[in-house]
Every structure is written in structure tokens, then in C-alpha cells.
């Protein structure tokens, strides 16, 4: 079984662990959710990097092809164009573990390990003002924004709800990044949520 790179950020005394899409991940707080602001580990959402001349055809079944450094949202998934001929396809919370691994002629698929987590709630602006080197507000809603967060390379995208962002990064820096932001969030009254907590909450 896969293990979320962020699992060590969740105390087993405070969270219930479980499996989503084949990954062991923190699912839910043992105690009630109080803050409705904080972070949630979403690394169980599977992702694939796609290359090749056949990619636009493959994606057109479910998406309008996004422009460079933009995202297109489909049914329970999204795709970001992260390079001229490079696309990152991801599940979203509505269809965890349900997306079929893409396969098509003229499409190279790399199954990718990524960390993804959500930052949401009233303290998001302050956290990002301190840790992010980019003015996220200047980008359109569907932007895929490569930037630095707490001195780590990440990509950030915004969610429709206000004060709600998702962060995607490589697993090796995930734990440092998530723990750093979690510490700051706790100072500001936020809390950690599990995967299921996040999916069920109204924060979306």
C-alpha cells in the first residue's frame, strides 16, 4: 500500500488513519472540527503526467484543453497544462480512486507521486502573504501558478470558494512544507483536517 508523505504530520492520537485510492492517509479528526480553517492532506488524489501528440485527443473527451499554466476542470478531475506539451491530470475529491489510468496511442503516461494539500479559511491570506513570493490575486481563477512557498517549489491553484487554495509539490519537500504551514496555521487558530473531513466539510 502507498503511504502519504504527509502522514507524519498527523498525530495518530488525534486522527483516524485509513486507505483512500490505495494510499494510507489521515482521514478524520477524533475530536470535532471547530475552526473550519486550516490544512488538509489530499495526497491520495492520483495524478499522471501526460506527453505526446495524442494528449489533446485523449483529454478532449472530458476537458476543454487548457492554455499554458492553466487548469481545466472536468467531472471529478482536472488537468493542468504545466508545459508546452505537458499535462498533469489529477483526480479530485468527488471521484477518489475512480478515474481510469489514461492510456492511448501516442500518449506517454508517467504515474506520478505528488503531495497535494488544501489551505482554506480566514487565515489563508496571512499565511500566503508570509510564505508565498507571488501575488496570487493577480492571476485568473483557473491559473496554475508555479511559485515558491516557504522556500519550496510548488504549484498553487485557487478554488472557487474564497480563501481556499490547493498546493501541489514533490513528495520530498512535502512534509517540511506542510508542517511549516500547519505550525503557522495553528498560531492563527487553524487546525488540521483529515482527507474525509475535508471532503465532507462545506469549505468547498
Amino acid at each position: 500500500m502507498k503511504v502519504s508523505p504527509l502522514l507524519d504530520a498527523y498525530s495518530p492520537a488525534e486522527f483516524v488513519y485509513g486507505e483512500r485510492a490505495g494510499m494510507q492517509i489521515a482521514l478524520a479528526r477524533s475530536a470535532p472540527i471547530t475552526a473550519h480553517a486550516g490544512l488538509a492532506d489530499l495526497s491520495a488524489l492520483r495524478k499522471w503526467m501526460l506527453f505526446g501528440s495524442g494528449v489533446p485527443t485523449l483529454l478532449s473527451k472530458n476537458f476543454a484543453l487548457p492554455a499554458l499554466f492553466s487548469r481545466a476542470v472536468g467531472a471529478g478531475s482536472w488537468v493542468a497544462r504545466v508545459g508546452a506539451g505537458r499535462y498533469l491530470l489529477s483526480e479530485d475529491t468527488q471521484r477518489v480512486g475512480e478515474i481510469e489510468e489514461p492510456a492511448m496511442r501516442d500518449v506517454t503516461v508517467l504515474t506520478q507521486s505528488w503531495v497535494e494539500f488544501a489551505i482554506f479559511g480566514a487565515m489563508t491570506t496571512e499565511i500566503l502573504s508570509e510564505l508565498c513570493t507571488t501575488n496570487l490575486a493577480q492571476y485568473p481563477m483557473n491559473a496554475w501558478i508555479p511559485t515558491l512557498l516557504a522556500d519550496s517549489e510548488v504549484a498553487i491553484y485557487r478554488c472557487p470558494a474564497t480563501q481556499h487554495h490547493r498546493v501541489v509539490c514533490a513528495p520530498a519537500e512535502g512534509l517540511y512544507l506542510f508542517s511549516t504551514i500547519a505550525g503557522l496555521a495553528k498560531e492563527l487558530g487553524g487546525e488540521l483536517l483529515g482527507f474525509d473531513d475535508y471532503c465532507k466539510t462545506n469549505v468547498l
Binding site: 500500500m1 502507498k2 503511504v3 502519504s4 508523505p5 507524519d8 494510499m23 495526497s43 503526467m49 506527453f51 508545459g83 506539451g85 505537458r86 506517454t108 508517467l110 504515474t111 506520478q112 507521486s113 505528488w114 496571512e126 502573504s129 508570509e130 510564505l131 508565498c132 513570493t133 501575488n135 490575486a137 493577480q138 516557504a150 522556500d151 519550496s152 514533490a170 513528495p171 520530498a172 519537500e173 512535502g174 512534509l175 517540511y176 511549516t180 503557522l184
Partner: protein, 955 residues
């Protein structure tokens, strides 16, 4: 005698309760809103500090953070700026730079030594006798500096916040507020910042301007405070300008890094002192200081005051202070009072005697306090008793931020002030820094600056700038030479008038050189009160104009910034292997490897015992190591092979599918920069590894070459998305064979082969490569499944006593095989023809990085990497890396790797030596740290299993 006066209109203090603190052990009571300085003066503490070099008694000068006369110390903080900080209840403050207390400071003795301590004395004195110099050096170092720091101070950590705004207005006086107000209702966000506790600037402390602007100020502030798009920040200091209009603003909670689309600088002017004997006595101050003290804090800093006038505003100040209730007896004018127009008449109508033009001004003191002033007028000498002398002779524009923003300044001969003349896009200036001095002119100029910025944002606006002031606001020569000196130009550094003559005489006659020689402007106030006078003095010495002399370069920071604010929140980025938890549980001793941490070895006894156990596990049974730090790249596309052939020295594109090649990367100079393994996965697909320390640079090279050559290829960096494990030892195939469906025989999976397979149920990429000299497999796998695979292999390998091994053991193992480590056995000038790797350079390829240089380098290598062995073994005095290889007194090279080989029973190593020596040489001499020489034999670098039979074992 300084004292508190009755409540002033709109004063900044509240008199309903007290804040109690101590100063030099004496209790002091303050009101909320007081600064430390105002509270001290209200309690008649007029001796507030000691000067830097001569420890002269000092009182207030500017009361505006434009000097460092009053720097204080507490048990937890240093260099507290008392002029602007409010006292903390219960705090104990002492003056900095004293020995034995402020009043009894024995540093005063230095003033008696001042004839032998002129400016720059440390360049010229104390060198003889030489044996005494270390003592002088210690004494001078101990005497330098102001406050002290202690590691016992509680650490402060302040966050840095990023803020984005359309227009940043720096300065909250009349001009700044007018500018900000002009920007409202145009859909632009605005932030106004000011270093004072309240907005309004001079409108608060100039009585006449306060009365004239009361309604306007109230209306404007109300409009700004209620505007959703405007923010007003007080006690906030813009400390520099950086490209793209990035301005760090220091506030109580840390640095706010403001990025603005446009900036308006309305920072005003800084009052400058006159230079005369004893102008630094407590009681001598700037006129604006007295105005601030009385109107903001209700403090009269003297009983009997005299105003020294060099401009018309001196008369305004004198009249205002008189009307504020202070006793101003006389105005001493540097020029004829009639040149001030009606001001002199007005002053006399207020009962102030006006005298001028004066000569030979001197302040006199009693017990370290101002007691009288002497001067000449019309040829006769006079002395006036006073305890307050208020200097109002000129203003220096606070244009540092404009200079940093590359605004060009031009000297205005009418105003006798430099003015901003050419602005880069998105910058405007307003108010007195822009040469507009009257209240109406400043307001109009602020509105004009706002209009200019609106135009910059392509909005409709009309810019109507008021004219620049037409009369000089500063006296052109406010100094009085004196044969006994003690007439200070720079109060921070105790720089006197004649110090400039000394500097000029010794050839430091340029404004930049004079600054460095005299240290004028290098103290905590960074020349705010001294630079203008210094430039004027230099102009007179040179016989040139002020415009021709120029000024020194204004650099950040405008005010000193605490280290805590600069540090911000401590971020220590790191990259974690998926297996770090496993290593910790196994007793890893860690080492830093860039942003990674790696196990040096695993604790299983002493250091040596632990490493030996790991070594034996690999050589005799099974060892496993985490190599997740390696660079890993997918190279995919029709031109994938071509890209790798261009970037590496060997014909990588000729590799067969399913095989790997050891590859070398050189830069354009032919210098080795990286090595790795390139595996051909498919016709148009390669998988490439790189050294841990060079991974990011190699990725950059690959992508740059691909872009430059317009290759049809994708390079994907998956370094930090995959884990990697290397498992090696005589029993490895038995172990792996139990957990993979991949056929591990030599025919199905030969040495240097690569296979995508399943291992422990996980899809992995296996490469049969060797670094440690035994049969081994490098397994690359998804990060999220690495723990499962590692635990499975460890569990299964327990029957063979498998051990994890760390970097130190790995290095010893590879040394026995003579494998080089790039950047350890190579350096910044090593090329392949100096190493055993020359065979990796394939000149049949027409183009690859470094080819042209390598063609030349192969003809005449300067050095050679050689292997050596020795029977020498002394645990307490080992041969170490970087020990020199010598021949008599000549240095031939150095040791690059060395270690004891348990298998061979002797110490082996690699060294780089001169090529000419290496030819035919059989022995080298290595010099240890204590100078002893050790002889070693030169041997081929494949020390262990030179035939590679163990690595290619056909099991």
C-alpha cells in the same frame, strides 16, 4: 531646566495614568504616549548619553530618530532608540557606550587623549612597538560599538509579510496626505506610511501650520480613514527601495514587504545642525526638536532658550515656541536679520530680541550642560546665559529612497537644494523633498503627485505642480571654525570640522573618500544630520560648488533594522527521503547533504565497529542503502538520444534498449561537472540519474540544451518524486529472486542492464549497476511505496543478516573499486584526461558540451589522479583528505580520498598530482597535519577485484 508644561492642544500623551520605568537606576514617570526621551526630559534628565569616541555628554539633538545621541540598553534589548520608542512599564534603561554609568563614565578620559585620537588614528598609530599592538587592538575593539548583545536575550522572531498595492505613499505629512487623497475614488488601492505615531508630520508640531491646517487635516484624515481602498500605517518606516518598487516597511510586528505599482515619496526634509564649538552640549538642539517636544509631549526642554537662525523658518519656530509658552529670549541670526523680511519684526513684536549677523559662536557649559552662548556681533563680544540653544539653519532633503529608485537629482541654485528632476516610471515626489516648502505649496504638490500617478495608470488627470520655493531654505555656511575644535559635524561619529581638513590634506578629497576616511555618515543615523554640512565643507575646501561636489550614494537601510526583523520566520527547507523514518529507527547517525539528510552510518557499537559491520555485510552477505537523493530524469521524445549525446561525453544514443551506460558531463571548458547513469528504456525514452549535489544543475543543462537546439524532447525532473534503493552483496540475487518476477540471470538481466518490473508487488525500475564492487541492483520506485519495499527487503534479508549501510561505508566500498566521486576526487579544473575516465570521451561525436576544450586539454593534461596504498596506520593521526603530496618543499598535489580497507588490510586512497610527476612515479610522500611524512606506493586505482568478477558474477 527641562520640565513638563500644561496640556497642549492635540498633544500625543494622555495624562490620566503613569508609566513607570528607570533610567540609570533612577525612577522615572511617563505618560502613555511619551517617548523615552520626552519622559526623561520631563523629569529634567538632560544628560542622556555619551558620544561614541570621546564620551562627551550628550542630550537630545533631533528628537526625531535623525541622530543617535540617545541610544539605550535594557537587559533584553540593545540600541533602543529613545527618541521614538515609548517606555515599557517596569523596564530598566541604561545609556549605551558607558563604563561605570552615564554620569561617572570613565570613558570621559578619552577626551583628554583626543589630540592623539584624531580621525583615522587607527591607520597611523599604535604600530610601535609591534609587540604592544595586540594589546591596543584588544582595547580598541572593546571600546568600539555602542550597545551590547547577549546570547541570553530572548530570541525574537518576526514574520515578514508581503503586501501588494497600487500606490504606496511614503510620508504622512501634508504632501503625502494630499497625494493619497487625490488617488481615492479611482479604483486604486493606496497605503500611506509614516514613521511617527500619528499622521500629519509637521502639521502637528508647527504651531502656525497646525492652526492653518486644522480643518484640512481633519477632513483629509477622515476621508482616508473611511476609504475602503486606503490603509494608513503609522510607526512604519520604509527602509529601502528595490527593483520593481519593492519597499520593505518595518513595523512593530516585522517587515511588510510592499510591492507597489507606483510610489509617491513625500518624506520631507531633515533639519541640520550648525557647527560651532561645543555644539553637542546637552541643551543645544535642533529647533524642530523643541517644537516636537512641546507640542506632542508637553515638554519644555529648557527654561531660557535662544534660537540660532540661518533661515526664515527659524523665526517661525521661535515665534511658535514663544506662543506655545516657552521662554525664547533671543534670535541670533547668522545673516542680517533684515534679510528675513517681516519675520524679524514679528519676532521682536513677540518680545524676542533679534541680533545679527553673528560671528565666532561658541556654546559654553557647566557640569556638562549648556549654560551660555558667546558670540561676536559688530566687532564686540557678548555672552548670553541660557540652557537651551535651538539651531535652525537648514534642511537636508530626505531623498534617500528617491536616490535608490534611480531618480536623478539636479542642484537648484536658487533654492540651494538638490531637487529630483528625472523620474523612472511610476515614481513621484511631493512636498519639501521636492522643493515645495509652504503649506499650500506642499498640499498642491501632493495633489500634483497624485495626478501624475493617475496619469501613469492611464487615468484622466491634470498635473498642476506649484512652483519650487524661490528662496533658500538653508544657510550655505553654518559653521564656525575654532582653534580648539569640538565643533561637531557628525554627532554619531564625533567628527569635528577640522577632521575634514585633515582628510582633504591627506588626499581624501572626493566625497566618497572623505566619507570613508572621516567616517562621516557611517554611524547609526547614516548621515541624516551631517551629510549636507559635510558636502558644503568639502566644497569650500575644494573651492567648488555644492553641485560639483555631489553626494555619497544612499543605500538601504534608511534606518537600522533589527536582525530579528530581517531574519523573519526561520525557514529551513529540507528534502526528506521516504525512508528517513526507517533510518531513524535503525539508529542512523545523520549528516547533511545539501537539503537532504543522509545516514552516515547506523549505530551498532563504536563508530568504527558500526562501519566495519556494514562493510562486512556488503562484502560478505547483503547490504542495502538509500540512494533517493540521486537526480532522476525522464527524457522522452524523438530527440531524446540526441539531447543526451549533446550533453554527455559518450555516445549515449547508441545504447541498446534495456541497457545503461555510465556517463560523464563536462561544461564548455571541458571540466567534469557531473556523472551518472543513462538507461535506455525505449526507442525514444531514456532514464538518467545524476549526482545528488549536481542534480538541479544537470536538469538545467538538459533543458537549456534542449531549448537552444530546439529539440523535440521532454525532460521531466522526478528527483524528488521517486525513491531509490541500492542493494548489493553476494546474496542479493537470492533475496530479490524471491520477491520479483523479473528473471535475474545474466542472460536475462546482464550487468549494466535496466528492467521495469515488479518488486514486492510494486512497479519499479531496476538497474544492475555497481558502485560498491559487489553484485548489486539500484531500484527506483514511487516515493509513496518505498517504505513497503524497504521493510519487505529488510524482513526477507534478515535470514542473511542484511544490514543497511550509510554514506561513509559506501564511500569506503567505492574507494576500493577506485570509483571517483565528482567534486571530491575532482575539482573546479579537473577534466577527464586527468582521470581514469578519459575513455568516456568519444570524439567521434561531432558535437557535445566541452568538445572543443577537451580536444585541447587531452594534449597536455596538467595533473593526474593516481591510486596509492600504504601500510601506515595510526588511528590518532590518520591520513586525511586534502593532506598534501610533497616532494621536498614542493607541493605536488593532495589526497582526495583515503580510507582503511579491511579486505586489503591496508590504507588506500586517491590523490591528484602533477602529471609530469605521475609519469613513471612509484611512490609519493604525504604530509600529515603535524608535518610528519608518510610514504605511499602508487598502484592502479582498481584496488579491489580489479577484474570486476564479483560485480559481474555469473550466478
Amino acid at each position: 531646566m527641562a520640565h513638563r508644561v500644561p496640556p497642549q492642544p492635540h498633544e500625543w500623551i494622555t495624562r490620566d495614568r503613569k508609566v513607570r520605568f528607570s533610567f540609570e537606576g533612577e525612577p522615572v514617570a511617563a505618560y502613555p504616549g511619551d517617548t523615552i526621551t520626552s519622559a526623561l526630559l520631563a523629569s529634567d534628565h538632560t544628560l542622556l548619553g555619551r558620544s561614541f569616541k570621546y564620551h562627551r555628554p550628550r542630550g537630545i539633538l533631533s528628537a526625531a530618530n535623525h541622530d543617535s545621541n540617545v541610544l539605550l540598553q535594557t537587559a533584553t534589548r540593545t540600541n533602543v532608540r529613545a527618541d521614538v520608542e515609548m517606555p515599557l512599564d517596569g523596564e530598566a534603561y541604561t545609556a549605551v557606550n558607558t563604563h561605570g554609568g552615564l554620569k561617572r563614565d570613565w570613558g570621559q578620559l578619552l577626551e583628554a587623549l583626543s589630540p592623539v585620537l584624531p580621525v583615522g588614528f587607527y591607520y597611523k598609530a599604535f604600530f610601535r612597538p609591534r609587540w604592544l599592538f595586540p594589546l591596543w587592538e584588544r582595547l580598541i575593539r572593546r571600546a568600539s560599538g555602542l550597545g551590547w548583545v547577549s546570547t541570553d536575550f530572548p530570541p525574537t522572531r518576526q514574520a515578514t509579510h508581503r503586501v501588494y498595492v497600487d500606490c504606496l505613499v511614503i510620508g504622512g505629512g501634508a504632501a503625502g496626505l494630499a497625494a493619497a487623497s487625490a488617488l481615492l475614488d479611482h479604483g486604486l488601492t493606496v497605503i500611506v506610511i509614516d514613521e511617527n505615531a500619528r499622521l500629519g508630520g509637521r502639521l502637528h508640531y508647527s504651531r502656525s501650520e497646525a492652526e492653518a491646517s486644522r480643518d484640512w487635516l481633519a477632513t483629509t484624515l477622515s476621508r482616508l480613514e473611511s476609504a475602503a481602498e486606503a490603509e494608513l500605517w503609522t510607526q512604519s518606516v520604509a527602509v529601502g527601495w528595490y527593483s520593481d518598487h519593492e519597499v520593505p516597511v518595518v513595523r512593530a510586528d516585522g517587515i511588510h514587504l510592499v510591492t507597489a505599482r507606483a510610489i509617491i515619496v513625500a518624506t520631507g526634509v531633515i533639519e541640520t545642525p550648525a557647527v560651532f564649538r561645543n555644539n553637542d552640549l546637552p541643551g543645544v538642539m535642533l529647533a524642530s526638536a523643541a517644537q516636537r517636544l512641546v507640542r506632542r509631549y508637553g515638554v519644555a526642554p529648557f527654561e531660557d532658550g535662544i534660537v540660532l537662525a540661518g533661515n526664515a523658518s527659524a523665526y517661525e519656530a521661535a515665534i511658535d515656541l514663544k506662543r506655545d509658552g516657552l521662554r525664547i529670549t533671543t534670535i541670533l541670526d547668522l545673516d542680517l536679520p533684515t534679510t528675513r523680511g517681516d519675520r524679524a519684526v514679528e519676532a521682536e513684536a513677540e518680545g524676542i530680541r533679534v541680533v545679527g549677523p553673528i560671528k565666532h559662536l561658541e556654546a559654553r557649559g557647566s557640569r556638562g550642560q549648556l549654560s551660555s552662548v558667546t558670540y561676536n556681533v559688530n566687532g564686540s563680544a557678548h555672552e548670553l546665559a541660557c540652557d537651551g540653544l535651538l539651531m535652525s539653519v537648514g534642511w537636508a532633503p530626505a531623498g534617500q529612497l528617491l536616490h535608490q529608485a534611480r531618480v536623478r537629482f539636479t542642484y537648484d541654485p536658487q533654492l540651494e537644494q538638490v531637487l529630483p528632476s528625472e523620474f523612472p516610471a511610476g515614481i513621484a515626489a511631493a512636498g519639501r523633498v521636492n522643493g515645495r516648502f509652504g503649506l499650500a505649496a506642499r498640499i498642491a504638490d501632493g495633489e500634483a503627485a497624485g495626478a501624475k500617478i493617475l496619469l501613469y495608470f492611464k487615468q484622466v488627470a491634470t498635473v498642476v505642480a506649484p512652483p519650487v520655493a524661490s528662496i533658500p531654505q538653508s544657510h550655505s555656511r553654518p559653521w564656525f571654525p575654532h582653534p580648539k575644535g569640538k565643533n561637531f559635524v557628525d554627532f554619531d561619529e564625533d567628527i569635528q570640522l577640522h577632521d575634514f581638513s585633515v582628510a582633504y590634506r591627506e588626499g581624501f578629497d572626493n566625497v566618497e573618500l572623505m566619507k570613508r576616511y572621516t567616517t562621516n555618515g557611517m554611524g547609526p543615523s547614516q548621515g541624516k544630520h551631517s551629510n549636507l554640512n559635510a558636502a558644503r565643507i568639502l566644497a569650500e575646501l575644494q573651492g567648488r560648488s555644492l553641485a560639483e561636489v555631489g553626494s555619497t550614494t544612499a543605500r538601504p537601510f534608511y534606518h537600522p533594522v533589527t536582525m530579528g526583523a530581517l531574519a523573519g520566520r526561520r525557514l529551513r527547507p529540507r528534502w526528506d527521503s521516504a525512508l528517513n523514518g526507517e533510518h531513524t529507527r535503525a539508529g542512523a547517525e545523520w549528516m547533511d547533504a545539501g537539503l537532504w539528510c543522509r545516514p552516515k552510518f547506523y549505530r551498532g557499537g563504536s563508530d568504527a565497529e558500526s562501519r566495519l559491520a556494514e562493510y562486512r555485510a556488503v562484502r560478505e552477505r547483503l547490504g542495502i542503502i538509500d540512494v533517493s537523493t540521486l537526480g532522476k530524469f525522464e527524457v522522452i521524445g524523438p530527440d531524446a538520444g540526441q539531447l543526451l549525446a549533446l550533453c554527455y561525453t559518450s555516445a549515449v544514443d547508441k545504447a541498446a534498449i534495456g541497457m545503461t551506460r555510465y556517463v560523464l558531463m563536462c561544461d564548455q571548458r571541458g571540466i567534469i561537472v557531473d556523472d551518472g547513469v543513462a538507461a535506455r528504456i525505449g526507442e525514444q525514452r531514456f532514464y538518467v540519474t545524476a549526482g545528488s549535489s549536481h542534480a538541479q544543475a544537470t536538469y538545467r543543462t538538459l533543458t537549456q540544451v534542449a531549448a537552444l537546439c530546439r529539440l523535440n524532447v521532454e525532460v521531466v525532473d522526478i528527483t524528488r518524486q521517486l525513491a531509490a534503493i541500492n542493494i548489493a552483496g553476494p546474496r542479493v540475487r537470492g533475496l530479490l529472486g524471491a520477491v520479483t518476477s523479473q528473471n535475474l540471470s545474466d542472460t536475462s538481466f546482464p550487468f549494466l542492464g535496466v528492467r521495469d518490473a515488479e518488486l514486492c508487488g510494486v512497479p519499479v525500475r531496476m538497474m544492475r549497476v555497481g558502485f560498491v564492487g559487489e553484485v548489486g541492483y539500484e531500484i527506483h520506485l514511487p516515493y509513496t511505496q518505498a517504505v513497503h519495499v524497504w521493510r519487505s527487503l529488510m524482513a526477507l534479508g534478515a535470514a542473511d543478516a542484511i544490514l543497511p549501510f550509510g554514506v561513509e561505508t559506501q564511500r569506503q566500498l567505492r574507494l576500493e573499486k577506485g570509483h571517483l566521486i565528482v567534486a571530491q576526487d575532482t575539482d573546479g579544473v579537473t577534466h577527464p584526461f586527468e582521470t581514469p575516465l578519459a575513455g568516456l570521451v568519444n570524439f567521434k561525436k561531432p558535437h557535445f558540451l566541452g568538445r572543443a576544450a577537451l580536444e585541447m586539454l587531452r594534449e597536455a593534461p596538467a595533473r593526474s589522479v593516481v591510486g596509492f596504498e600504504t601500510d601506515y596506520s595510526a588511528l590518532d593521526l590518520p591520513i586525511e583528505e586534502c593532506h598534501l603530496v610533497v616532494d621536498g618543499s614542493s607541493i605536488l598535489g593532495r589526497v582526495t580520498s583515503v580510507g582503511y580497507s579491511p579486505s586489503l588490510g591496508r590504507t588506500i586512497g586517491l590523490a591528484v598530482v602533477t602529471h609530469d610527476f605521475a609519469i613513471g612515479a612509484q611512490r609519493i610522500a604525504i604530509r600529515l597535519t603535524n608535518g610528519a611524512l608518510v610514504n605511499a606506493r602508487i598502484v592502479p586505482t582498481a584496488f579491489y577485484d580489479p577484474g570486476n568478477t564479483r560485480q559481474q558474477d555469473a550466478a
